[in-house]
Symmetry: C2
Subunit: 182 residues, 2 copies
DNA sequence: GTGCTGATGTAGCGATTGCTACACAAGCCA
DNA sequence: TGGCTTGTGTAGCAATCGCTACATCAGCAC
C-alpha cells in the first residue's frame, strides 16, 4: 500500500481550490479527483456520494471564507459608516475575495433553488459577515446592530449589481443615499 | 409532412417556461426539447448549437421579465420611498415573480463567471428594472434618479439576503435605514 | 415530371456522468 | 497463522451529454 493516507481533511483544501477556480456547476467527480490527486473512486469512498461531498465542501468553504474575513479585518475601526462601506467594498477587489465572490453567486443560486447544503453554507457565510460587520461599525455609531444590517443590505446589493455590470448604478445609489462621500 | 412549423419564436415561450421551472443548470437539450414538443435534433436545427439557444433564450426571458414588470406596474405612484420599497418587495412574493427570482440567481452566477449571453441578459433585466423604478419614484422626490438607484441597491440586497435565509437581517436593515416604517 | 430547398424522424457517435464490482495489499487482533 | 478492516487500483456499467449522418417528405420553380 502506498500509504498516501488521504482523508476528508487533506482532500477538502484541494477540492475547495478547484471549485473556487472552476465553480460548482462544472464540479464533477473526475476533475475534482484529479485536482485533489486521487480518483473519483476514492472521493466516493471518503464522502459516500457526490451530494455529501458537495455539502461538506460547501461547509468547508464557509469556514475558509470566515478565515479570509478575519485575515482582512483591519486593526483600526472605521470612524464613519461611509468609511466602513468604502473599506469593505475596496476589499472586494482583492483577488482572493473575487474568487469567493464568483463562487458566492453559485451558492446563492443553489440556495434559492433549495439544493442540499447550499442554503446552510450561504446562511453561515452571511452570518459570519454580519458578525464581522458589527465589529467594524464605528464606535460612536448610534445603532450598531441595526446599522450593520443596513450596511450589509446595501453592500450585498452593490456586489450583486456589480456582478451584472451595474456597478455604476450601485455607486450612484450609494452616493444618493449618503453612504459614500460626495 | 406534419407541418408543425416550429420556429424560434414558437419554441422560445415553451423553453422559457421550462427553465423558469427547472433552472438553467439542468437545461440540457433533450428535456428542453421534450418541454417544447420537439426533439433535440430540431433545437440544434433551429438555433445552431446549445450556446446560441441559451443566449437567445436568456434574451427572450429578459423581455418576459420586462413584460412582467410592466404588468405589475400599479396605476398609482407611491407617495414615499418607504411605500415604494414596501410595494416592490411585496410584489416579489408573487409566484410569477418568485420563478423569475430563482432563475435570476442562475443568471447572476453565469454573468459573474462570464458565461456568454448571461451578462447581457442580466444587464438588460437590471436596466429595465431601474427604468421601472425611476417611474415609480414619488412625484415630489428631491432626487428621483439617484433615489431610484439607491432604492435599487437596497432592494437587490434585500432580495439576495432573503434568498439565503437572511430576510430578517435585511428587514432590520431597512428599518434601521429608515426605508421601512417603524 | 425533375430537381432543389427546407423541415423532420431515426439512429447513433464519442465523451462524460455518478457510481459499483472486484481484486488486492497492508495492518491489526485473536 | 488466519481472519477482519481499511485503503487503493483497475475496469466497467447504465445513463446522459451535445451533436451529426442519413433518409425522407412536402412544397415550389422550371
Amino acid at each position: 500500500m502506498v500509504q498516501t493516507q488521504l482523508s476528508r481533511e487533506t482532500l477538502l483544501p484541494k477540492l475547495a481550490a478547484h471549485v473556487l477556480e472552476h465553480g460548482l456547476g462544472q464540479a464533477s467527480l473526475r476533475p475534482l479527483a484529479k485536482a485533489a490527486g486521487t480518483s473519483d473512486r476514492m472521493l466516493i469512498y471518503h464522502f459516500g456520494n457526490k451530494q455529501a461531498l458537495i455539502t461538506e465542501l460547501l461547509s468547508y468553504i464557509a469556514t475558509l471564507y470566515s478565515g479570509a474575513l478575519d485575515a482582512m479585518l483591519g486593526d483600526k475601526r472605521p470612524a464613519t459608516r461611509q468609511e466602513c462601506i468604502a473599506r469593505i467594498l475596496g476589499a472586494g477587489s482583492d483577488p482572493a475575495m473575487q474568487a469567493f465572490l464568483v463562487l458566492w453567486w453559485d451558492i446563492v443560486a443553489g440556495a434559492a433553488r433549495g439544493l442540499p447544503g447550499y442554503g446552510a453554507a450561504a446562511e453561515e457565510m452571511m452570518a459570519k459577515q454580519l458578525e464581522w460587520l458589527e465589529g467594524q461599525m464605528p464606535e460612536d455609531d448610534p445603532d450598531p446592530a441595526g446599522g450593520a444590517r443596513y450596511l450589509m443590505t446595501v453592500i450585498e446589493g452593490t456586489l450583486m449589481l456589480s456582478a451584472v455590470g451595474h456597478g455604476d448604478t450601485a455607486h450612484q445609489g450609494l452616493l444618493a443615499g449618503g453612504l459614500l462621500p460626495a
